[in-house]
Amino acid sequence: MTEKRIRVLIAKPGLDGHDRGAKVIARALMDAGMEVIYTGLRQTPEMIAEAALQEDVDVVGLSILSGAHNALVPAIIEKLHSSGLTNIKVFVGGIIPEPDIAGLLDLGVKAVYGPGTDTQTIIADIQHAMQRSSR
């Protein structure tokens, strides 16, 4: 009688000052039946990995508007792995220039979403990634 729910951490690393987009995503994932932990602005890679560990999330969604993704994402993935969280699925949303996307995917990021991505796409991707890993 296992009753598993998908748990997602939505985090905003770096210094950008608003989190409207992150909140819209959080809300959409909740409406899709997921449990969404939201941690607020200005999270360091350490804080994100710590929250992911304590909350035992399946998915980490990073919202990055500041342009610092090439520094932040590797640092966060490194912290997740060194905390033993090697199975977590990482998604990135925000303003990511096209040439940088391949590099992020190479790091193990599942998908990168630009502004205006349909939330249904993100929901479907998360559900798909979870199904694949539970097999």
Binding site: M1, A32, M47
Partner: protein, 339 residues
Amino acid sequence: MPQIDPIAIRQGDRLALSRALTMIENNAPESRALQSALFPFTGHAHLIGVTGAPGAGKSTLVNQLAMGLRQGKEGQPAPKVAIIAVDPTSPFTGGALLGDRIRMGGLAGDKGIFIRSMASRGVLGGLASHTAAFVTILDSAGFDLIIIETIGAGQAEVGIASLAHTVVVVEAPGMGDDIQAIKAGILEIADIIVVNKADRLGAENTIRALRVMLEMAQGKSGAFDIKGKHGLDALLPTIKEKQKPQPGWIPPIHTTIATEGQGIAPLIEDILRHGEHLAHTGEWQQKEAARLRRDIQALIRNTLLDQWWQKQDENQFEEILADVLQRKYSPLEAVERLL
């Protein structure tokens, strides 16, 4: 799901701890053996319930409390603090937005702290049993204080608050929830009352109103004749327990500005003093006994129900249901046929 070594949890392995909590939430069968293995190592932690209307400032206050508690007393090692932050599951989608951590940034990077957000998941009675199981795991992992944040709405929530040794009820001025609080029986379960947002207009009025209500409640509980098991009383046996006179403990009213850390030190002092009071008067033991009694009773109920369903022929149930629908006989008679 892979097995979790109880020894890893007792040795402070945070990943194992976190995974164990997930198992419990998911009702994974493996979690039962784990709880049983860890139970002998529990009974040490001071459980603190923090409850009150949405937006009263509970999370901000919990952040401050935990920071303050981590300072410890002079010459003693700093206590380890765990936080269980409960938020409601949407009854429509089954999803939840768990935002309490936003206010708990002050605790980041402290390995003596463990924060876990929990969705209520709407299972009847499930929330209370999951919370109790969380407490077992965290207690055995060596956390000295376990703070449980819940909104004080609904009976299940009040039930969780009364799981705690010390219940802190948080109010804020101008929220118009005073009457609400009384309705939910929340003042009756308070060991300590906090009027937060003391920087806001109307704080004085809230304090005055609470004083009056508290005096009324105390006066009433003496003369209150609680009869039988119906209505609220049957649902909330814990309130009855609370209404027994607590010798020497009158719930103090504190005022705080959680966002600025004001009023926190005296509040912490009273929380710890309440724990000592319980220990001295023997109430700690009584509460433990009452809690475990309820736990065991709930387990018996659930286990019997599960066993019965496993043996029950589903078709027969549907047939009898159809008969009841046609008013051939009553639900009571249906049960007689089924059992």
